[in-house]
Protein backbone atom coordinates (compact mmCIF):
# COMPACT_ATOMS: atom_id res chain seq x y z
CA UNK A 1 0.00 0.00 0.00
CA UNK A 2 3.02 2.21 -0.19
CA UNK A 3 2.33 4.94 -2.70
CA UNK A 4 5.82 6.25 -3.04
CA UNK A 5 6.62 9.25 -5.14
CA UNK A 6 10.38 8.85 -5.02
CA UNK A 7 12.39 5.66 -4.87
CA UNK A 8 14.41 7.05 -2.02
CA UNK A 9 15.44 4.47 0.54
CA UNK A 10 14.41 6.81 3.35
CA UNK A 11 10.75 7.72 3.80
CA UNK A 12 11.55 10.39 6.36
CA UNK A 13 14.75 12.36 6.26
CA UNK A 14 15.64 14.77 9.04
CA UNK A 15 18.62 17.06 8.50
CA UNK A 16 20.28 19.47 10.91
CA UNK A 17 17.25 19.65 13.16
CA UNK A 18 17.32 22.30 15.87
CA UNK A 19 14.48 22.80 18.30
CA UNK A 20 14.14 24.37 21.70
CA UNK A 21 11.38 24.66 24.26
CA UNK A 22 11.89 28.14 25.64
CA UNK A 23 15.47 28.23 26.96
CA UNK A 24 15.80 24.43 26.90
CA UNK A 25 17.54 23.11 23.80
CA UNK A 26 15.89 19.83 22.79
CA UNK A 27 17.66 19.19 19.49
CA UNK A 28 20.97 20.63 18.49
CA UNK A 29 21.62 19.49 14.94
CA UNK A 30 20.12 16.03 14.57
CA UNK A 31 20.16 13.91 11.39
CA UNK A 32 17.78 10.96 11.24
CA UNK A 33 16.81 8.73 8.33
CA UNK A 34 13.77 6.49 8.59
CA UNK A 35 14.23 3.67 6.08
CA UNK A 36 11.20 2.65 4.06
CA UNK A 37 9.43 -0.54 5.08
CA UNK A 38 11.45 -0.95 8.26
CA UNK A 39 10.79 -0.56 11.96
CA UNK A 40 13.04 2.16 13.33
CA UNK A 41 13.50 2.66 17.05
CA UNK A 42 14.23 6.03 18.59
CA UNK A 43 15.57 5.56 22.09
CA UNK A 44 16.74 7.95 24.72
CA UNK A 45 16.19 8.91 28.33
CA UNK A 46 13.01 10.69 29.45
CA UNK A 47 12.87 14.34 28.56
CA UNK A 48 15.12 14.17 25.51
CA UNK A 49 12.21 15.10 23.31
CA UNK A 50 11.55 11.81 21.60
CA UNK A 51 7.88 12.69 21.38
CA UNK A 52 8.89 16.12 20.12
CA UNK A 53 10.55 14.47 17.14
CA UNK A 54 7.28 12.75 16.20
CA UNK A 55 5.35 16.00 16.50
CA UNK A 56 7.90 17.74 14.31
CA UNK A 57 7.69 15.00 11.68
CA UNK A 58 3.91 15.29 11.83
CA UNK A 59 4.21 19.04 11.27
CA UNK A 60 2.50 19.98 14.53
CA UNK A 61 5.57 21.85 15.73
CA UNK A 62 8.01 23.93 13.72
CA UNK A 63 11.75 23.37 14.12
CA UNK A 64 14.00 26.38 14.71
CA UNK A 65 16.31 25.19 11.94
CA UNK A 66 16.82 22.18 9.72
CA UNK A 67 14.54 20.28 7.39
CA UNK A 68 12.19 17.35 7.70
CA UNK A 69 11.32 15.60 4.46
CA UNK A 70 8.52 13.09 4.21
CA UNK A 71 8.72 11.15 0.96
CA UNK A 72 10.74 13.94 -0.61
CA UNK A 73 8.39 16.72 0.55
CA UNK A 74 9.58 19.29 3.09
CA UNK A 75 6.90 19.06 5.77
CA UNK A 76 7.35 22.54 7.20
CA UNK A 77 7.08 24.55 4.01
CA UNK A 78 3.66 23.13 3.21
CA UNK A 79 0.53 25.18 3.49
CA UNK A 80 -2.09 23.99 5.91
CA UNK A 81 -4.19 22.16 3.36
CA UNK A 82 -1.27 20.29 1.81
CA UNK A 83 0.00 19.45 5.29
CA UNK A 84 -3.37 17.94 6.18
CA UNK A 85 -3.27 15.93 2.95
CA UNK A 86 0.20 14.68 3.91
CA UNK A 87 -0.97 13.73 7.39
CA UNK A 88 -3.50 11.34 5.92
CA UNK A 89 -0.45 9.29 4.95
CA UNK A 90 0.79 9.21 8.53
CA UNK A 91 -0.76 7.43 11.47
CA UNK A 92 0.20 8.20 15.01
CA UNK A 93 -0.36 6.19 18.14
CA UNK A 94 -0.28 8.42 21.19
CA UNK A 95 0.96 7.23 24.52
CA UNK A 96 -2.49 6.49 25.89
CA UNK A 97 -4.27 5.94 22.62
CA UNK A 98 -5.86 9.42 22.62
CA UNK A 99 -9.24 7.87 21.82
CA UNK A 100 -12.20 10.22 21.56
CA UNK A 101 -13.97 9.58 24.83
CA UNK A 102 -17.48 10.31 23.57
CA UNK A 103 -17.30 7.72 20.78
CA UNK A 104 -17.40 3.92 20.97
CA UNK A 105 -14.47 1.76 19.86
CA UNK A 106 -16.15 1.19 16.50
CA UNK A 107 -16.80 4.90 15.95
CA UNK A 108 -13.25 5.78 16.99
CA UNK A 109 -11.80 3.55 14.29
CA UNK A 110 -14.42 4.76 11.81
CA UNK A 111 -13.67 8.41 12.66
CA UNK A 112 -10.87 9.06 10.10
CA UNK A 113 -12.85 7.22 7.41
CA UNK A 114 -15.99 9.24 8.07
CA UNK A 115 -13.99 12.48 8.11
CA UNK A 116 -11.98 11.85 4.96
CA UNK A 117 -13.94 9.51 2.71
CA UNK A 118 -17.44 9.19 1.30
CA UNK A 119 -17.54 5.43 1.65
CA UNK A 120 -20.97 3.83 2.12
CA UNK A 121 -21.85 2.72 5.63
CA UNK A 122 -21.59 -0.98 4.80
CA UNK A 123 -18.05 -0.58 3.53
CA UNK A 124 -17.00 1.47 6.54
CA UNK A 125 -18.38 -1.31 8.74
CA UNK A 126 -16.35 -3.94 6.90
CA UNK A 127 -13.18 -1.87 7.00
CA UNK A 128 -13.53 -1.07 10.70
CA UNK A 129 -14.12 -4.72 11.53
CA UNK A 130 -11.03 -5.67 9.50
CA UNK A 131 -8.88 -3.15 11.34
CA UNK A 132 -10.26 -4.24 14.70
CA UNK A 133 -9.71 -7.90 13.80
CA UNK A 134 -6.07 -7.08 13.05
CA UNK A 135 -5.56 -5.85 16.61
CA UNK A 136 -7.74 -8.58 18.08
CA UNK A 137 -10.51 -6.35 19.38
CA UNK A 138 -13.38 -7.03 17.00
CA UNK A 139 -15.42 -8.21 19.98
CA UNK A 140 -14.88 -4.93 21.83
CA UNK A 141 -16.39 -2.73 19.15
CA UNK A 142 -19.33 -1.53 21.26
CA UNK A 143 -17.29 -0.65 24.34
CA UNK A 144 -16.43 2.92 25.23
CA UNK A 145 -12.85 4.12 25.89
CA UNK A 146 -13.57 4.38 29.63
CA UNK A 147 -14.25 0.62 29.68
CA UNK A 148 -10.92 -0.33 28.09
CA UNK A 149 -7.66 -1.22 29.79
CA UNK A 150 -4.55 0.79 28.88
CA UNK A 151 -3.27 -1.89 26.53
CA UNK A 152 -6.64 -2.23 24.81
CA UNK A 153 -6.89 1.55 24.34
CA UNK A 154 -3.53 1.50 22.60
CA UNK A 155 -4.61 -1.35 20.36
CA UNK A 156 -7.76 0.56 19.39
CA UNK A 157 -5.56 3.62 18.81
CA UNK A 158 -3.41 1.45 16.58
CA UNK A 159 -6.43 0.23 14.62
CA UNK A 160 -7.40 3.87 14.16
CA UNK A 161 -3.87 4.86 13.14
CA UNK A 162 -3.93 2.32 10.30
CA UNK A 163 -7.54 3.10 9.35
CA UNK A 164 -6.61 5.06 6.24
CA UNK A 165 -3.78 2.67 5.25
CA UNK A 166 -0.98 5.14 5.90
CA UNK A 167 2.62 4.83 4.72
CA UNK A 168 4.08 5.72 8.09
CA UNK A 169 2.97 4.84 11.60
CA UNK A 170 4.55 6.61 14.56
CA UNK A 171 4.37 5.02 17.99
CA UNK A 172 4.83 7.29 20.98
CA UNK A 173 6.04 5.23 23.98
CA UNK A 174 3.77 2.27 23.18
CA UNK A 175 5.08 0.09 26.03
CA UNK A 176 5.03 2.49 28.96
CA UNK A 177 3.14 1.10 31.93
CA UNK A 178 2.10 -2.15 30.27
CA UNK A 179 2.09 -5.57 31.88
CA UNK A 180 4.26 -8.22 30.19
CA UNK A 181 1.38 -9.80 28.29
CA UNK A 182 0.01 -6.64 26.73
CA UNK A 183 3.58 -5.52 26.06
CA UNK A 184 4.13 -8.74 24.13
CA UNK A 185 0.88 -8.21 22.24
CA UNK A 186 1.87 -4.67 21.27
CA UNK A 187 5.37 -5.76 20.21
CA UNK A 188 4.01 -8.49 18.00
CA UNK A 189 1.42 -6.13 16.52
CA UNK A 190 3.95 -3.44 15.65
CA UNK A 191 6.20 -5.93 13.90
CA UNK A 192 3.49 -7.93 12.14
CA UNK A 193 1.44 -4.93 10.99
CA UNK A 194 4.58 -3.31 9.63
CA UNK A 195 5.42 -6.38 7.56
CA UNK A 196 1.87 -7.35 6.56
CA UNK A 197 0.75 -3.89 5.49
CA UNK A 198 4.09 -2.75 4.07
CA UNK A 199 4.27 0.16 6.51
CA UNK A 200 7.19 2.13 7.77
CA UNK A 201 7.22 2.40 11.54
CA UNK A 202 8.91 4.70 14.03
CA UNK A 203 8.86 3.48 17.61
CA UNK A 204 9.83 5.95 20.29
CA UNK A 205 10.60 4.20 23.54
CA UNK A 206 12.97 3.72 26.40
CA UNK A 207 12.15 0.08 26.94
CA UNK A 208 15.48 -0.87 25.46
CA UNK A 209 15.35 -4.65 25.13
CA UNK A 210 11.77 -4.76 23.89
CA UNK A 211 12.17 -2.14 21.25
CA UNK A 212 15.54 -3.43 20.03
CA UNK A 213 14.08 -6.90 19.63
CA UNK A 214 11.48 -5.75 17.10
CA UNK A 215 13.36 -3.01 15.25
CA UNK A 216 15.53 -3.15 12.15
CA UNK A 217 17.36 0.04 12.88
CA UNK A 218 17.80 2.16 15.97
CA UNK A 219 18.88 5.60 17.08
CA UNK A 220 19.98 6.61 20.56
CA UNK A 221 19.34 10.29 21.15
CA UNK A 222 20.36 12.18 24.27
CA UNK A 223 21.01 15.80 25.17
CA UNK A 224 20.10 17.03 21.71
CA UNK A 225 22.45 14.78 19.72
CA UNK A 226 22.37 11.40 18.03
CA UNK A 227 24.77 9.33 20.13
CA UNK A 228 24.55 6.10 18.20
CA UNK A 229 22.71 4.65 15.26
CA UNK A 230 22.72 1.34 13.48
CA UNK A 231 21.27 -2.11 13.62
CA UNK A 232 20.18 -3.36 17.04
CA UNK A 233 23.31 -5.52 17.28
CA UNK A 234 25.67 -2.69 16.52
CA UNK A 235 23.89 -0.58 19.13
CA UNK A 236 24.27 -3.34 21.70
CA UNK A 237 28.00 -3.51 20.92
CA UNK A 238 28.47 0.24 20.81
CA UNK A 239 31.65 1.43 22.52
CA UNK A 240 30.10 4.72 23.66
CA UNK A 241 30.06 4.64 27.48
CA UNK A 242 26.84 6.63 27.49
CA UNK A 243 25.04 4.13 25.26
CA UNK A 244 26.29 1.27 27.39
CA UNK A 245 25.04 2.97 30.54
CA UNK A 246 21.69 3.57 28.93
CA UNK A 247 21.32 0.01 27.65
CA UNK A 248 22.32 -1.58 30.95
CA UNK A 249 20.50 0.91 33.14
CA UNK A 250 23.52 1.62 35.33
CA UNK A 251 22.84 4.23 38.01
CA UNK A 252 26.17 6.02 37.64
CA UNK A 253 28.32 6.76 34.62
CA UNK A 254 28.43 9.52 32.03
CA UNK A 255 24.99 10.48 33.35
CA UNK A 256 25.95 11.15 36.95
CA UNK A 257 23.90 9.93 39.88
CA UNK A 258 24.40 13.25 41.66
CA UNK A 259 22.75 16.41 40.46
CA UNK A 260 25.32 19.15 39.84
CA UNK A 261 26.40 20.51 43.23
CA UNK A 262 29.33 22.05 45.08
CA UNK A 263 31.85 19.65 46.62
CA UNK A 264 30.22 17.67 49.42
CA UNK A 265 32.73 18.60 52.14
CA UNK A 266 32.62 22.30 51.30
CA UNK A 267 28.85 22.22 51.37
CA UNK A 268 28.80 20.68 54.84
CA UNK A 269 31.41 23.09 56.20
CA UNK A 270 29.51 26.15 55.06
CA UNK A 271 26.93 25.77 57.81
CA UNK A 272 24.26 28.44 57.87
CA UNK A 273 25.58 30.15 54.77
CA UNK A 274 23.52 29.97 51.66
CA UNK A 275 25.35 28.17 48.89
Amino acid sequence: MTTSVSDDAALVRVRGLRFSHGPRVIYDGVDVDIPRGKVTAIMGPSGTGKTTLLRIIGGQWQPAAGTVEFDGVNVHTLRRKALYELRKRMGMLFQNGALLTDLSVFENVAFPMREHTDLPESMIRDLVLMKLEAVGLRGARDLFPSQLSGGMSRRVGLARAIALDPDLVMYDEPFTGQDPISMGVLMRLIRSLNDALGLTSIVVSHDVEEVLSISDYAYVIASGKVLASGTPDSIRNSDSPYVQQFLRGEPDGPVAFHYKAAAYADDLMNKGKKA
Binding site: Y84, K88, A98, G157
Partner: protein, 251 residues
Protein backbone atom coordinates in the same frame (compact mmCIF):
# COMPACT_ATOMS: atom_id res chain seq x y z
CA UNK B 1 2.66 45.93 35.02
CA UNK B 2 3.05 42.28 34.09
CA UNK B 3 -0.63 41.73 34.94
CA UNK B 4 -1.60 44.25 32.28
CA UNK B 5 0.72 42.82 29.63
CA UNK B 6 -0.47 39.29 30.44
CA UNK B 7 -4.05 40.43 30.09
CA UNK B 8 -3.39 42.15 26.79
CA UNK B 9 -1.55 39.10 25.49
CA UNK B 10 -4.45 36.88 26.49
CA UNK B 11 -6.93 39.22 24.83
CA UNK B 12 -4.90 39.22 21.63
CA UNK B 13 -4.65 35.44 21.55
CA UNK B 14 -8.35 35.14 22.29
CA UNK B 15 -9.18 37.44 19.39
CA UNK B 16 -7.13 35.44 16.92
CA UNK B 17 -8.79 32.33 18.30
CA UNK B 18 -12.21 33.91 17.75
CA UNK B 19 -11.26 34.74 14.16
CA UNK B 20 -10.30 31.14 13.47
CA UNK B 21 -13.59 29.97 15.02
CA UNK B 22 -15.55 32.36 12.81
CA UNK B 23 -13.65 31.04 9.81
CA UNK B 24 -14.68 27.53 10.77
CA UNK B 25 -18.39 28.34 11.23
CA UNK B 26 -19.47 27.61 7.62
CA UNK B 27 -18.02 24.11 7.62
CA UNK B 28 -19.50 23.47 11.08
CA UNK B 29 -22.95 24.51 9.84
CA UNK B 30 -22.65 21.92 7.08
CA UNK B 31 -22.63 19.22 9.74
CA UNK B 32 -25.94 19.75 11.55
CA UNK B 33 -25.63 16.53 13.54
CA UNK B 34 -22.62 17.79 15.47
CA UNK B 35 -24.45 21.04 16.13
CA UNK B 36 -27.61 19.32 17.34
CA UNK B 37 -25.54 17.18 19.70
CA UNK B 38 -23.95 20.28 21.18
CA UNK B 39 -27.27 22.11 21.40
CA UNK B 40 -28.45 19.20 23.49
CA UNK B 41 -25.49 19.22 25.89
CA UNK B 42 -25.26 23.00 26.12
CA UNK B 43 -28.95 23.92 25.96
CA UNK B 44 -31.19 21.08 27.04
CA UNK B 45 -28.89 20.09 29.89
CA UNK B 46 -29.09 23.65 31.24
CA UNK B 47 -32.90 23.72 31.18
CA UNK B 48 -33.56 22.48 34.69
CA UNK B 49 -31.42 25.07 36.43
CA UNK B 50 -32.84 27.85 34.22
CA UNK B 51 -36.46 26.85 34.80
CA UNK B 52 -36.11 26.54 38.56
CA UNK B 53 -34.09 29.74 38.96
CA UNK B 54 -36.52 31.65 36.75
CA UNK B 55 -39.43 30.61 38.92
CA UNK B 56 -37.75 31.65 42.14
CA UNK B 57 -36.50 34.98 40.79
CA UNK B 58 -40.04 35.78 39.60
CA UNK B 59 -41.56 34.81 42.93
CA UNK B 60 -39.13 36.99 44.90
CA UNK B 61 -39.73 39.93 42.56
CA UNK B 62 -43.48 39.59 43.05
CA UNK B 63 -43.17 39.58 46.83
CA UNK B 64 -40.82 42.56 46.91
CA UNK B 65 -42.73 44.49 44.24
CA UNK B 66 -46.07 43.96 45.92
CA UNK B 67 -44.82 45.36 49.25
CA UNK B 68 -43.76 48.61 47.60
CA UNK B 69 -46.62 48.96 45.13
CA UNK B 70 -49.38 48.28 47.62
CA UNK B 71 -48.42 51.42 49.62
CA UNK B 72 -49.27 53.49 46.56
CA UNK B 73 -52.39 51.52 45.79
CA UNK B 74 -50.76 50.34 42.61
CA UNK B 75 -50.73 46.61 43.28
CA UNK B 76 -52.39 46.08 39.89
CA UNK B 77 -49.15 47.19 38.27
CA UNK B 78 -47.28 44.23 39.75
CA UNK B 79 -47.25 42.48 36.37
CA UNK B 80 -45.55 45.40 34.69
CA UNK B 81 -42.95 45.62 37.43
CA UNK B 82 -42.04 41.94 37.19
CA UNK B 83 -42.14 41.83 33.41
CA UNK B 84 -40.03 44.93 32.80
CA UNK B 85 -37.37 43.98 35.32
CA UNK B 86 -37.15 40.43 34.01
CA UNK B 87 -37.23 41.16 30.30
CA UNK B 88 -34.91 44.15 30.36
CA UNK B 89 -32.37 43.07 32.96
CA UNK B 90 -32.62 40.02 35.12
CA UNK B 91 -33.67 37.58 32.42
CA UNK B 92 -30.59 37.89 30.22
CA UNK B 93 -28.13 38.57 33.05
CA UNK B 94 -29.16 35.84 35.48
CA UNK B 95 -29.57 33.33 32.67
CA UNK B 96 -26.11 34.17 31.38
CA UNK B 97 -24.56 33.83 34.83
CA UNK B 98 -26.23 30.45 35.30
CA UNK B 99 -25.26 29.46 31.77
CA UNK B 100 -21.63 30.31 32.49
CA UNK B 101 -21.73 28.21 35.63
CA UNK B 102 -23.50 25.23 34.09
CA UNK B 103 -22.59 25.07 30.40
CA UNK B 104 -19.49 27.27 30.22
CA UNK B 105 -17.59 25.43 32.92
CA UNK B 106 -18.59 22.07 31.41
CA UNK B 107 -17.37 23.19 27.98
CA UNK B 108 -14.04 24.39 29.31
CA UNK B 109 -13.51 21.21 31.32
CA UNK B 110 -14.44 18.97 28.39
CA UNK B 111 -12.18 20.71 25.91
CA UNK B 112 -9.37 20.99 28.46
CA UNK B 113 -9.59 17.26 29.13
CA UNK B 114 -9.56 16.51 25.42
CA UNK B 115 -6.38 18.53 25.23
CA UNK B 116 -4.80 16.88 28.27
CA UNK B 117 -5.49 13.40 26.89
CA UNK B 118 -4.03 14.24 23.46
CA UNK B 119 -7.41 13.92 21.77
CA UNK B 120 -7.01 17.31 20.10
CA UNK B 121 -3.50 16.60 18.79
CA UNK B 122 -4.73 13.16 17.82
CA UNK B 123 -7.34 14.80 15.62
CA UNK B 124 -4.75 17.11 14.12
CA UNK B 125 -2.58 14.12 13.28
CA UNK B 126 -5.60 12.47 11.65
CA UNK B 127 -5.82 15.58 9.48
CA UNK B 128 -9.02 16.71 11.21
CA UNK B 129 -9.08 20.34 12.29
CA UNK B 130 -10.20 20.40 15.94
CA UNK B 131 -11.41 23.98 15.55
CA UNK B 132 -13.89 22.82 12.93
CA UNK B 133 -14.78 19.52 14.51
CA UNK B 134 -14.82 20.39 18.22
CA UNK B 135 -14.70 24.13 18.88
CA UNK B 136 -16.96 25.73 16.27
CA UNK B 137 -20.03 23.51 16.90
CA UNK B 138 -19.80 24.23 20.64
CA UNK B 139 -19.45 27.94 20.04
CA UNK B 140 -22.46 28.11 17.70
CA UNK B 141 -24.52 25.99 20.08
CA UNK B 142 -23.85 28.42 22.93
CA UNK B 143 -24.76 31.33 20.70
CA UNK B 144 -28.11 29.77 19.77
CA UNK B 145 -28.96 28.30 23.16
CA UNK B 146 -28.51 31.45 25.26
CA UNK B 147 -31.36 33.57 23.79
CA UNK B 148 -33.71 30.57 23.93
CA UNK B 149 -32.81 29.84 27.55
CA UNK B 150 -33.22 33.48 28.47
CA UNK B 151 -36.74 33.55 26.95
CA UNK B 152 -37.63 30.39 28.85
CA UNK B 153 -36.30 32.00 32.02
CA UNK B 154 -38.48 35.08 31.40
CA UNK B 155 -41.59 32.99 30.74
CA UNK B 156 -41.09 31.05 33.95
CA UNK B 157 -40.45 34.23 35.96
CA UNK B 158 -43.31 36.30 34.62
CA UNK B 159 -46.10 33.94 33.76
CA UNK B 160 -45.93 30.25 34.35
CA UNK B 161 -44.60 29.89 37.87
CA UNK B 162 -42.97 33.02 39.28
CA UNK B 163 -44.65 36.42 39.45
CA UNK B 164 -48.05 35.17 38.34
CA UNK B 165 -48.22 32.41 40.92
CA UNK B 166 -47.31 34.71 43.79
CA UNK B 167 -49.03 37.91 42.63
CA UNK B 168 -52.29 36.53 41.30
CA UNK B 169 -52.81 33.23 43.09
CA UNK B 170 -51.34 34.12 46.48
CA UNK B 171 -51.57 37.91 46.94
CA UNK B 172 -54.81 38.35 45.01
CA UNK B 173 -53.80 40.77 42.25
CA UNK B 174 -56.44 40.75 39.51
CA UNK B 175 -55.53 38.29 36.78
CA UNK B 176 -56.83 40.49 33.97
CA UNK B 177 -55.02 43.56 35.25
CA UNK B 178 -51.78 41.60 35.63
CA UNK B 179 -51.74 40.58 31.98
CA UNK B 180 -53.31 43.64 30.36
CA UNK B 181 -50.86 46.01 32.04
CA UNK B 182 -47.95 43.88 30.87
CA UNK B 183 -49.48 43.89 27.40
CA UNK B 184 -49.77 47.69 27.27
CA UNK B 185 -46.41 48.63 28.84
CA UNK B 186 -44.01 46.03 27.50
CA UNK B 187 -42.96 46.89 23.97
CA UNK B 188 -41.58 44.86 21.15
CA UNK B 189 -38.31 46.78 21.48
CA UNK B 190 -37.88 45.50 25.02
CA UNK B 191 -38.05 41.91 23.87
CA UNK B 192 -35.73 42.63 20.95
CA UNK B 193 -33.17 44.24 23.23
CA UNK B 194 -33.47 41.33 25.62
CA UNK B 195 -32.72 38.91 22.80
CA UNK B 196 -29.77 41.02 21.66
CA UNK B 197 -28.36 41.04 25.18
CA UNK B 198 -28.78 37.29 25.52
CA UNK B 199 -27.09 36.61 22.20
CA UNK B 200 -24.15 38.85 23.12
CA UNK B 201 -23.81 37.14 26.51
CA UNK B 202 -24.08 33.74 24.85
CA UNK B 203 -21.30 34.62 22.42
CA UNK B 204 -19.13 35.97 25.22
CA UNK B 205 -19.58 32.97 27.52
CA UNK B 206 -19.01 30.43 24.72
CA UNK B 207 -15.98 32.31 23.46
CA UNK B 208 -14.43 32.48 26.92
CA UNK B 209 -15.23 28.83 27.65
CA UNK B 210 -13.78 27.37 24.44
CA UNK B 211 -10.76 29.67 24.66
CA UNK B 212 -10.01 28.67 28.25
CA UNK B 213 -10.44 24.99 27.45
CA UNK B 214 -8.38 25.06 24.27
CA UNK B 215 -5.53 27.00 25.86
CA UNK B 216 -5.53 25.13 29.17
CA UNK B 217 -2.25 23.65 30.35
CA UNK B 218 -2.52 19.93 29.47
CA UNK B 219 -2.54 18.77 33.09
CA UNK B 220 -5.28 18.17 35.65
CA UNK B 221 -4.28 21.41 37.35
CA UNK B 222 -4.58 23.26 34.04
CA UNK B 223 -8.07 21.88 33.44
CA UNK B 224 -9.31 22.91 36.86
CA UNK B 225 -7.83 26.35 36.42
CA UNK B 226 -9.51 26.71 33.03
CA UNK B 227 -12.88 25.78 34.54
CA UNK B 228 -12.55 28.30 37.35
CA UNK B 229 -11.39 31.14 35.18
CA UNK B 230 -14.18 30.46 32.68
CA UNK B 231 -16.76 31.13 35.37
CA UNK B 232 -14.91 34.13 36.84
CA UNK B 233 -14.08 35.83 33.55
CA UNK B 234 -17.52 35.08 32.07
CA UNK B 235 -19.31 36.56 35.07
CA UNK B 236 -17.26 39.74 34.92
CA UNK B 237 -17.72 39.98 31.16
CA UNK B 238 -21.48 39.51 31.46
CA UNK B 239 -21.88 42.28 34.04
CA UNK B 240 -19.60 44.69 32.17
CA UNK B 241 -21.26 43.98 28.82
CA UNK B 242 -24.65 44.39 30.44
CA UNK B 243 -23.76 47.90 31.53
CA UNK B 244 -22.47 48.82 28.07
CA UNK B 245 -25.49 47.36 26.28
CA UNK B 246 -27.96 48.95 28.70
CA UNK B 247 -26.30 52.32 28.24
CA UNK B 248 -26.68 52.05 24.48
CA UNK B 249 -30.28 50.82 24.69
CA UNK B 250 -31.25 53.58 27.18
CA UNK B 251 -33.52 56.22 25.74
Amino acid sequence: MSIITDMLQGLGRAQFFLLSIIGAIPSALLRPRLLVQQLYTVGVMSLIIIVISGSFVGMVLALQGYRTLVDFGAAESLGVFVAVVIVRELGPVVTALLFAGRAGSALAAEIGLMKATDQLSGMEMMAVDPIKRVIAPRFIAGLIAMPLLSMIFAMMAIGIAGGHAIGVNLLGVDDGAYWSQIHSSLHWEDIRDSLVKSAVFGAAVSWIAVYQGYHAAPTSEGVSRATTSTVVVSSLAILALDFILTAFMFH
